[in-house]
Point group: C2
Chain length 456, copies 2
Amino acid sequence: METIKNYVEIHKKRFLEELFDLIRIPSISAIEEHKDDMRKTADFIKNSLIEAGADLAEVKETTGWPVIYGQKLIDDSLPTVLVYGHYDVQPVEPLDLWDSPPFEPELRDGKIFARGADDDKGQLFMHVKAFELMNRTGTLACNVKFMIEGEEEIGSPSLKEFCKQNKELLKADIILISDTTMIAQDTPSITVGLRGLSYLEVELTGPNRDLHSGLYGGAVGNPANLLSKMVASLTDKNNHITIPGFYDDVLEISDSERSDMAKAPFNLEDYKTALDIEAVVGEKGFSTNERTGIRPSLDVNGIWSGYIGEGAKTVLPSKAYAKISMRLVPNQDSKKIDTLFIDHIKKIAPEGTKVEVKSLHGGQGYVTPIDFPAYRAATKAIGESFGKQPIPVRSGGSIPIVSDFEEVLGIKSILMGFGLDSDAIHSPNENYPLFNFYKGIETIPLFYSYFAEEIK
Amino acid sequence: METIKNYVEIHKKRFLEELFDLIRIPSISAIEEHKDDMRKTADFIKNSLIEAGADLAEVKETTGWPVIYGQKLIDDSLPTVLVYGHYDVQPVEPLDLWDSPPFEPELRDGKIFARGADDDKGQLFMHVKAFELMNRTGTLACNVKFMIEGEEEIGSPSLKEFCKQNKELLKADIILISDTTMIAQDTPSITVGLRGLSYLEVELTGPNRDLHSGLYGGAVGNPANLLSKMVASLTDKNNHITIPGFYDDVLEISDSERSDMAKAPFNLEDYKTALDIEAVVGEKGFSTNERTGIRPSLDVNGIWSGYIGEGAKTVLPSKAYAKISMRLVPNQDSKKIDTLFIDHIKKIAPEGTKVEVKSLHGGQGYVTPIDFPAYRAATKAIGESFGKQPIPVRSGGSIPIVSDFEEVLGIKSILMGFGLDSDAIHSPNENYPLFNFYKGIETIPLFYSYFAEEIK
């Protein structure tokens, strides 16, 4: 621990400068025009790995954005850790809500403000720097492999195929991922459950052109009104999702498990204050943590139709669109939910309209076992660096690829994330506290040591 | 009639070139950055009036965009016609649905394609050219005044005050307006009823920032979902508007009046085919023409929230917006409806949200008498130029200023419009047939002659 702390102390300024350089490249995977930025970022990661001591690092092509593979294999008898992360980031809209430009990282109040500061550039770069630390201080306790993709924010469309084609290369004992949160700086936690995802886009067409809302209003079905009705009908007054069959595969959680979960520190008043809302809204009969942890949900992520500029335009729009995603719990199948959703939307599309639905993104939920070596190693590592045992929690988020890893590679994942809920990932003013960044770099080498011990 | 036809024949090419020059200036009143274009257009109109023979024409300042006033006073004993029109146009979004750039007028299939081709540059310019014709051929039968405003598409916020301040200057026997449609080129009609308008914008705020839809989805009220529910609830399954008190002032139309209206030529199959819809959607118990002519309606003109770009962004948005307008029938008061709407929206805003509503635009409905000189003159003029008697119809559209004219100036209006429903006003590919443009120029001088006769 002394060695680790010393190394971080000496090099912390440089670590941050390097992370800033990584963040400055706007690698938004959803937007095709960032093609060059995606390449640049991939090269940056590759070079960082070599610089940090990898004996091999390369940018590997896929059918989409490339994957960086890196490795340092030191001893066949040691366990192998496969680090997964992603170098792509979310879009930055709405831009006007950012207090500083999203791709010009800025330090304020001890936090790095920028798109990707946490998700996932900040978190993945901790692994690169911890890897450097272990190499330079001669403390590397495991073989290491890296698989850093560029499509996480758009649903990892190419990664499953990449895993299939590189099964042998990716062989490892555990996949180590930092792309989740912990409860608080003084309340570390490990994510043991992730929700699955079905993300679709609905396009509702009424008349074949935008109409004058005076000449036609009242006589022609308005897709903006009608899509609102369709969306509204997807949840009932108890915030239950109304799609037939939607809950069929949801596993009920036992009362004793629910009462265990309820022990995690949570203050509803603080939660509401932090979001500036007077009331929480969710499925009847469940607590806030249960609503995100063990229950599925349905959210409109985007809706648009007609005139959305300044002032008044009296248009009856031809088309209305909604991006709608459902978070799923383990055992719900994302593809099956896609089908249920599409069938239901087609069924409820009102007369006088045409509807198209396409799937944009999806993945299965995941539950990590807590009685296995990697979980024990992570618990010990965090316990040592934070001075407090981590709590196992179920997150509402999704990393769809985690269940694919298990299916294709037969390797389990451990979600040792260092983010905080207040990091505003996917939002304006995304940030990552320096405390968490450096604490992560200190914790990772401990994980390697304890994991090697556990496996021995 | 011979004189008129000859003059139009000789000058028709120039008329069109001049109209094209007028159309090329993008005078979008809703968008502040078109300030210079608004000024340029006002000057263009002023110069056109002088060129056409006005003895006075000037650009008069208001608290908003300027009004062009012009006149030719020939004889105190003759009646005075006040021509009203507007030089501002609607925004052009969605741009990608235009087959040619909106401000580069193009002739295709005998039609002028451009923003403002019909509404109202094409229609108002017929009056300028008819005025030129009467001056040059020495056939002007009435005194003429022009009042051409630049704020019709944003609700004419300054014009009522302008009328109050220029009551003496604007004194006239009739206000002549071409800003409406007729049924078809072979079925001329005169608009005798207009709907009123209440146009408001709703802003619903949930959490104080965009959230990650995985981490928060299911636990925090999503304003996009909730605004959809609010909008959906504004109409019931019979497409009745649910705002309490909304129908209180709606005058029921007698069965005999309804059966008279039903005689106007209308083919529902053609209507559906033209819009490419399989069914019309509207208030139960009323025909399509009744739904726009004698019944109020409620339309979402725009709705937006969250991520509306390419691909998937898993955001739970902080805010959701809707622009919602209601078309009102005569006797419904626009201000009262605004208040009912605002109160209702505030009442139905769900817990966990905050709501703001602002009025963007409004005006009263109007009914033109058909037993008065101007209506008879218009009937004769159209009957002569089209070879067919026009039918009186109630339009679903609104020209809110018409009721203000009556209130402030004490002058009635005659709505002698030459547009067609297929002109796609307010939409991409707005157009105006050359037939209608030239026919309008021929008809207007006949109106002046018959009106002078009627008044004598």
